[in-house]
Subunit: 341 residues, 2 copies
């Protein structure tokens, strides 16, 4: 099969890789209908995360089951399936508590599998994959793909920030995850949703997904603006969807005492000052999103056309042009690139 | 009146101070029945927090109302009252959300008032003070005094950590607040309560308050022990009641993914590493406890003899011997010193 491999910072090649096979009786092999490039793929692409030799890339996936191991019971050959970027058994105590991204048998898809490819082996298929009701029309595929990571991650950010009726929600970060957090806050019933963005086309998409206000300022100026919009108190719920020191402090400082910060940007070099956190009296919760917790609900919302997260893909390329897909995101010419194997 | 004043690290003097008077129509003057020394008083006493000239000390208090301003309506002269270590109006949006320690009109009692004295002026008396049902017997006074800070703070720690039925709760810190967190976890219905302590007399008090297990180890060894007691997963709820880097990391690392850390030790020099926090997937919440939120409930539990937090005072001295009260706590000869004005 063909698949994308990162050789060095900035160097993505699509090349021949060995076809995956069933290794464990709980595995499934899927043929990808679509895959994509994640904001987190840009960290190694930019050389900000080391790689250990040529690395198959990708951890987002939707597709049709080609083969299952003999212990797989919940899905069958021919099903159209979606899974999270973390493998989970969905039965351990941690999974049952809703933290499938920290499953005791968990592993990151990005670590070993690499779904920017034609085929992928998905371990613990019963716990990881969720089938759609029937075969989805092609127009639904981008939205279902979004559920695999960015939608599930933005949704978790909004849940972690306790977005809901009567709440003012602010979103730090206008990448795909930030935009999906706006969508999630809207679905969860938030009264007011403030998107922090300085890019006109992203502002527009944020408004499409439910943002009621746009704040262009960043850092302390952004915080001051959020305070100004909330009687000096700060937002009830703030979603951090970047992962830098500046964005984390912007999120904490934009939140009112007793409010909630949901942080889903993968932290890089962040140190949270304990004394400031203490006296802020905010709640802080985040981490790799337990997308599996939300998958069935998200699939339903997509299939009944309540939400349209697929609009977050503003560039679609054949898998063979993965390198250009990375470049476009790196240069912020694209929010998110969908790849067709 | 007489009152305790910190002149320099290690130097507490009880001396004549001006009697407080009604300054605002919302003030009350109370005659203290009892006051005490807080673990947080030891930071400036040890020279670890700077003071700006001679500083009246103390922020915990119970007593009888001597005089009220003309706008005070909820309490009257002669009432026996308890208040939090933070003044609050109890009507603003932040107070109404249960975060009275961050009231928009809030101020720390320790900053200006100094309740290690015979009399104290309490601003915003209607929002800050809660009267007991009738005059309490003298045997209840230590417990009511504990509600002013350490009980309310330990209680908030347990609530922030979401201690409750079916939960395994670990408490980092065996000072007065840690012991009160054990009591709170028990009252909130926790199934198993692990106190982390290496002092036999504090272990005994922890068991009295409801601890089911004692872990003597600290730091990474303590974390390993908690994991061992919880099927390798960590506790559901961990209360951090110290405020150092080591205790904070011990708390975070002792918590299972999706679990809750309630941190109520005032952070000194703590930096929480963002990446570790992210991948831990725990909830982190703490800060200066909104004691006022819990006061009515705590007073009821004390007055009907359900709880006996007053046992946390293991040294009682006349106010004039405040210096010895500080020394005994500094040298860990006493858990907490009650002072009788």
């Amino acid at each position: 099969m063909r698949g994308a491999v990162l050789y060095a910072p900035g160097e993505v090649r699509v090349e021949q890789r060995a076809d995956p096979t069933i290794e464990q009786p709980t595995d499934a092999i899927i043929r990808l209908a679509a895959t994509c490039v994640c904001g987190s793929d840009l960290w190694p692409y930019r050389g900000l995360e080391p790689i250990n030799g040529p690395t198959p890339m990708g951890h987002e996936y939707v597709g049709v089951v080609e083969e299952i191991g003999r212990e797989v019971k919940n899905i069958k050959v021919g099903d159209f399936v979606i899974g999270s970027f973390v493998i989970s058994d969905n039965t351990c105590e941690i999974c049952q508590a809703g933290y499938q991204s920290k499953c005791v048998h968990g592993e990151f898809v990005s670590a070993t599998i690499g779904t920017q490819a034609e085929l992928a082996r998905i371990p613990l298929a019963d716990g990881t994959l969720v089938a759609t009701p029937g075969q989805p029309g092609p127009e639904l595929v981008p939205s279902l793909l979004a559920a695999s990571d960015v939608l599930g991650t933005g949704w978790f950010g909004a849940v972690a920030a306790e977005a809901g009726p009567g709440k003012t929600v602010a979103v730090v970060g206008d990448g795909a995850v930030g935009l999906m957090a706006v969508l999630a806050a809207k679905q969860l019933g938030a009264e007011r949703i403030i998107a922090m963005s300085r890019h006109p086309e992203r502002q527009e998409l944020a408004r499409f997904y439910g943002a009621t206000d746009i704040v262009q300022e960043r850092g302390d100026d952004g915080v001051a603006k959020i305070k100004e919009l909330t009687n000096g108190l700060g937002a009830h719920s703030v979603i951090e969807a970047v992962g830098t020191q500046e964005s984390m402090m912007q999120a904490i400082r934009s939140t009112r005492p007793g409010g909630h910060v949901g942080f889903v940007g993968v932290c890089h070099g962040v140190e949270v000052p304990g004394e400031e956190l203490f006296f802020s009296a905010v709640h802080l919760h985040g981490g790799p999103a337990p997308v599996r917790r939300f998958l069935s609900e998200l699939i339903e919302l997509i299939c009944n056309r309540t939400i349209d997260p697929g609009r977050v893909f503003d560039l679609t390329l054949p898998l063979d042009q993965a390198a250009e897909g990375y470049r476009a995101m790196d240069e912020r010419r694209a929010i998110k690139t969908l790849l067709r194997p």
